[in-house]
């Protein structure tokens, strides 16, 4: 089956989720489980590092949509970082850049949790 891995790291008040491989309808439930666990543990500051994410389908994007509301309701956020051009293109095509904060580097995203963007 498709190769997909999730690695969870916990920094200072920020949880970093590293995604690796194919995130499609087949593997989306795994990411769902991860997000659900973070929510259950009341961990709402989440950075998803997409460095090794090779593909994302709309079912994969749907998992982000399904949890963003609950996370933001709890004063947290899901921020994304280190996307390859191919993955960013899918995010961009489906209009996600206006719904999510996307950063070039993971540390920029982490910093935003302590120094919110001026809007």
């Amino acid at each position: 089956m498709s190769d997909f891995k999730i690695h969870h790291r916990e920094g200072e008040g920020v949880n970093v989720i590293e995604l690796k491989g194919y995130l499609d309808a087949h593997t989306a439930p795994e990411l769902e489980t991860t997000f659900q666990k973070l929510l259950n543990d009341k961990k709402f500051n989440i950075v998803v590092n997409c460095k090794d994410l090779t593909y994302i389908s709309s079912a994969g994007l749907g998992v982000f949509m399904a949890y963003i509301e609950d996370v933001r309701k709890n004063q947290g956020d899901i921020k994304l970082s280190n996307m390859t051009a191919k993955v960013y293109n899918v995010f961009d095509l489906l209009g996600f850049p206006i719904l999510y904060e996307i950063y070039k580097e993971e540390k920029e995203a982490i910093v935003r949790f302590t120094q919110p963007k001026k809007s």
Binding site: S58, A59, G60, L94, I98, L99
Partner: protein, 575 residues
Amino acid sequence: MKSSRQHLAASAELLPLFEYSKIINSSLDLKFILGTLLLTVMGKMLVSRGIVLVERESGWFEIVSAKGIQQELTGHTIPLARPSRAITQLDKLKTGARPWAAFFKQHDMKLLVPVIVRKKLVGLIALGERLGSRKYSSLDQSLIGSLVDLSGSAIEKAKMIEELQDVNRSLDRKYQELNTLFDLSKEFNVGLDANRVLRLLTFSLLGQIGVNRYAVCLMKNGSIDIASSRLEVQVDLTAALQLCCLLKSPSLVSELYRKKKFKSAALEFDQAGIAAVIPMQVQNETKGLILLGAKLRGGNYTKGDLEFLYSMANLAIISIENARLFREAIEKQRMEDELAIARDIQQGLLPRTLPEIPEFEIQAINIPSKQVGGDYYDVIQRSENEVVIAIGDVSGKGTPASLLMANVQAALRALTPMGLSLPETTARINDLTSKNTSSGRFITFFWGSLDVPTRVFRYVNAGHNFPFLLRANGTLERLEVGGIILGMMPTMVPYEEGSTTLQQGDMLVLFTDGVSEAMSAEGLDYTEERLEKILLQIRTLSAREVIDKITSDLTTYTQGTPQSDDITMLVVKVL
């Protein structure tokens, strides 16, 4: 002299124009080109305020750049109906004469310059007052016109690039949509699990369309259920049900308003924040609906969105239907397996071989129905001189019926060697079984003991169909003596014993209601009368022949109507 001065002036004008042309022709960005054009014109004319717009859709213009006035205008799209295609001095227009001019007058613009490339209006440049309140002379106007003309090919090139980018993007989107459908069609049928299908469907809805308010309603036996929902208010299901029956194509709620039959549903959905309704169809029959709220990133649902959603909805419902059919098939298989067990139990209860006694011919038949009815017969040779015969029918079908019958058989087999009287034994079997039965199950039971040397037959009939005793002389008796059916309640009134002496040529025929109630194609019972009539005709035949004749008469009578109950017969012929 004069002409050479003019030449000099002209070349002084030309040099910067050459520079300008070089700059804009090296760019493919329409906004940059138009912005540079505006600034160049403003510089030449000494104007501090100006706006440049580009036509996006017919009648709609995007403000690409605004200088010297509110910056927030930039990026907005405004409607301008048929603006002038000639350079126009805005002050010379009468107030209200040209509706499109109002926007420019409002921002104190003085001159409007159309940007026309190959006879097509591409955009507009509006200029404010010149420094020192100088008028725009006709020479100025023609210079501006030349600048615009000079920019023509660069603008055209940039527009083409923009269009190509648009086409590319929409192709990318289509590719992405196809990928999603492909991805889902692979995953939907894994495991044939309707809940999994629903989850993947909603993820893809959220991801592809960018919507976070939705509900998936599914039809179930003529009513509708919400299978998955993320709406802030409860949806009225009657409206959904009505749509489910009538709606044949994906629709915006705003479109539903226009059709009278959908108006009330549209109002209901609108209040629940639903913007689009997608029917889920299998072979043109709507089996469910997807209700969708507004798109989070703004904008309306496009025709392309609706088409994509419709394909996805149909893909999902087919898988949900398949999962349902699969579950039903499994359930059916499980029931069949259970029936096979019941049949095994029942067949295991029946004697494999019948005792052979020189003075009697004993024959029996049991044809179980598909549902396994719980019929039973038994022949037990207790000693050289005594044979016990029995027949019974448990109410109900399947495994419970066959287990209860196993109970009766065990009781019978355990009690007969104890030397009790027939009524006493019957009372004990009844007490045992009524303890073990539940919810009104019962057994009709007939049994008797045949004394071989004297041919005396003693019996108890516990509510079973009266067996026939066909005498050799042509008379017919029914064996009725006994008591109540087994299993209903503990024995209160003792069972009675019937007794008769058999003669040579006499025949006992025991049967269950599977025989008398066998059904014809018209839905009529075979009846005991018909059985009696045929028995009288064939009473001289052997026990085997009698069973065969009745069996074939039953086949003729039922004409292939499915057998709903077990058919059992036990025949004893005195030789």
